[in-house]
Amino acid sequence: MDQEITPPGIENVISMRGISKRFPGVIANDQVDFDLRRGEVHALLGENGAGKSTLMNVLAGLYRAEGGTITVHGKVANFNSPKESIDAGIGMVHQHFMLVPSQSVTENILLGLEEPRFRMKLSEFDKKIETIAEQFGLHVDPEAKIWQLSVGEQQRVEILKMLYRGADVLIMDEPTAVLAPSEIEELFNTLRSMTDQGKSIVFISHKLHEVMEISDRVTVLQKGRVTSSGINTSDVTRADLAHLMVGREVVFRVQKNEVQAGDLVLSVENLKAMNDKGLQSLNGVSLNVRQGEIVGLAGVAGNGQNELAETLVGLREAIEGKITVNEKEVTNKPVKLGIRHGISLIPADRTQVGTAPNLSVTDNVIMKNYDQKPIGQGWMVNSSEAGKYASELKEAYDIIVPTIDTSVRLLSGGNLQKVILAREISSEPKLMIAVQPTRGLDVGAIEGVQKLLLSQRESGAAILLISEELEELLSLSDRIYVIYEGEIMGEIADGDIEKIGQMMTGTRLEQIGKEGVGSNG
């Protein structure tokens, strides 16, 4: 929004002005300003892909911005490498740790440094590291090997690594994503003790309650632009932040016809599942979807949406609960059985999950019915039938591609999504689970995808639409559930955006109105 004026007496350690960074096809940062004061925790908030990490990677010397200036302690800096950034006192702790498992804590911290030169007198350095660790409350045994440490302890090593290198600005990229709740508390204590001693911290996150708890100020990014710059955390509510983060102008409205909801298709009862890190990410989800209905699932990224979608189709194991599709129980059944029962998934990740990049359009559209007649015949795949099918889909869904033999890695995002939609819709699914079906697409492509979903609804499919785009959910859904930390906070049928915003930040529907903006979930 507007340039923020630094009050007198407060020192800006870092000030970034007009930072722009583009990647092929996307503008990750568009004229972004960012200030960091001495001794503060400054949260950088935004959805996945909003450009938070990109901005900080520029600051850490990993990327070079195309435009803009960075000033560190009043001096213009131009980082060509992470080393230069570290020398200027800026250290970044990445989401994925960069540690050598078979080496000790001290060895990892010393890795890449000039000292010790030849003779490794590790015990000396063990003591040095212990002193720093004590100073900031980072308890970790310097002699322990990395593989023996918990994830929380490994994170402490990463922080120590930066402190040892003399960093006074610490960038934490989604540090809580890998931690258990008790470890998060400990991390926050450490962060506080660091700011007390004059360090400054950038806290990248898309979890609102953490931002509220730990940060002094917040900068919110949305699609590479700053929507709110350096506001005091104490001046805003979680609902405000949610709005700044996801609220965006309506670009268009799609035509939605009345459809009478029919029989119950999907019913989920008390579903529990783990995420890839072995932490429980679905804590008893219950919901249902009827025929001819689009049911939205709103929520900030990383609250269990992907895990839910995967568990529903059988890609992830449910540890408790029951999934019923058309009165048949499908909990923990093979994926193929789900496909035969008419369950279709449009995965969030088009390239990693949805398609095989080096295979042709034909091979990609027959992924779910290659073993069904007429394409699968006996032990063979009938290639002329497959080609015919692919040509029909190319025509019907207007997939722009030279030939159906072209590898799909050469397709644009929108066309790739059309390939997936064509495949999933043409299987005439009874239940369609669409995860972020319009993410990263341009306006025209978004409209096309939304129309296809609506026409599916009219032809009687049950659709569960999982999205982080509130506008999209509001314009397409008949009802909206809100998920927060793996639990359904409530269900909204009238599209009350205020209530959705509050539920997205962890307030249960029952609590809204009773006690205002809720406490931590």
Partner: protein
């Protein structure tokens, strides 16, 4: 890559042309892949020529000698084919595994186990000594494939169950296989203290072309044996599987994106085990055809590294089973006639060179390289 050109052009004088490298944004033309393979062979031969020349030899004479004594007459062509048979089968074994990005480096061990399995039929014995020839061929082929498949099954299962790296496990199992065979040829089936089993009786030999010389004298002295039929049949069947069958589609899908395959409901674990077993069975069949068609006994030195050469052949053929036949004949010629040029050294060097140039040529498949005139700034 373009960035390097932009940022590091500090010097004042610039070469008037520069090489522009871009990722291909379209499908490369169909002719490109075979052209690159042939190009890779030619460049490898040129490098070999330089080495021969530096060593004081005459490259032209050496190469024409190789060509003459491997392809120059029916007799030597037949010998080349004999060398090519195990290479074909082993090349096919690698091709199917590599299609799924399963790096089976263990064809060598599976080859030895296949030879062992086939020998069991004669030496245990499983069949009576005077059983008919056709029964011997079928049973030996079956046991060769069974034992090869077993040697593929173990690393396959380890990979599927415990995610054990198949490169390491298959490679290690090669040594076990060789020592396993050694135990039997030194201790159990040793013939009068020599490190080899007794010669198999005649009806356990694969028929040779020369066996037909009584009827067609043209075939007399030709050593090409029935294993060629196995190899060509296997290539055709594998080609059908990989390019036409549902299973081949699954293998391709898993090879390209295992997550997408899982999402399409295809079991990756099951296919890892199955593909490793088929791969092992093919290598085992190679071992069987080598002892049934060439050496006619179980002994130590039955493979000059066929299992490893199979890896190069699979790559040279771009994992296409039919192209494996051609690539194997080329390598058969190199092995056969190369030995006349030099017992070791140059022929192995050329094989290795082909591998290196092949891998390098992949760069041109992925990138479009153009030379453009540098525009004045």
């Amino acid at each position: 890559m373009a960035e390097i050109n932009n940022t590091k052009s500090a010097s004042s004088w610039k070469f008037p042309f520069r090489i522009k490298i871009e990722n291909r944004v379209d499908n490369p033309p169909k002719w490109l892949s075979p052209t690159l393979s042939v190009g890779a062979i030619i460049i490898a031969l040129l490098i070999g020529a330089i080495v021969i020349w530096m060593g004081g030899g005459n490259p032209w004479a050496a190469y024409s000698h190789i060509a003459k004594y491997s392809l120059g007459s029916v007799g030597v062509l037949s010998d080349t084919l004999v060398k090519a048979i195990p290479l074909m089968l082993v090349g096919l074994a690698c091709s199917i595994a590599f299609r799924m990005k399963l790096w089976n480096i263990g064809a060598e061990g599976q080859f030895f186990l296949g030879a062992f399995g086939a020998s069991l039929v004669v030496l245990l014995p499983i069949l009576p000594e005077d059983a008919p020839k056709w029964l011997f061929i079928i049973t030996m082929a079956f046991f060769g494939m069974l034992f090869g498949a077993l040697w593929g099954f173990i690393p396959g299962l380890l990979k599927a169950r415990y995610n054990v790296n198949e490169i390491i496990s298959t490679l290690m199992m090669n040594y076990i296989a060789i020592e396993w065979n050694n135990y039997f040829i030194y201790a159990v089936w040793s013939e009068r203290g020599f490190q080899m089993s007794r010669m198999f009786q005649r009806n356990a030999w694969l028929p040779r072309l020369s066996d037909l010389s009584t009827r067609w004298p043209f075939f007399s002295g030709l050593t090409t044996h029935f294993g060629l039929v196995f190899a060509v049949l296997a290539a055709i069947i594998l080609w059908l599987i990989l390019s036409k069958s549902k299973w081949g589609y699954e293998i391709r899908l898993i090879g390209d994106n295992p997550k997408a395959a899982e999402y399409a409901g295809i079991s990756i674990k099951k296919n890892i085990v199955l593909v490793m077993m088929v791969s092992g069975a093919l290598a085992g069949l190679a071992g069987m055809s080598e002892i049934g068609g060439v050496v006619h006994r179980l002994q130590g030195a039955i493979s000059p590294g066929y299992g490893y050469t199979g890896i190069i052949i699979a790559w040279l053929a771009k994992l296409n089973p039919l192209a494996v036949i051609l690539a194997s004949i080329l390598f058969g010629a190199l092995i056969l006639a190369g030995r006349e040029v030099q017992p070791a050294g140059i022929p192995t060097l050329i094989q290795g060179m082909i591998m290196v140039t092949l891998i390098a040529s992949d760069f041109f498949y992925r990138n479009r390289v153009t030379i453009i005139r540098r525009v004045e700034d």
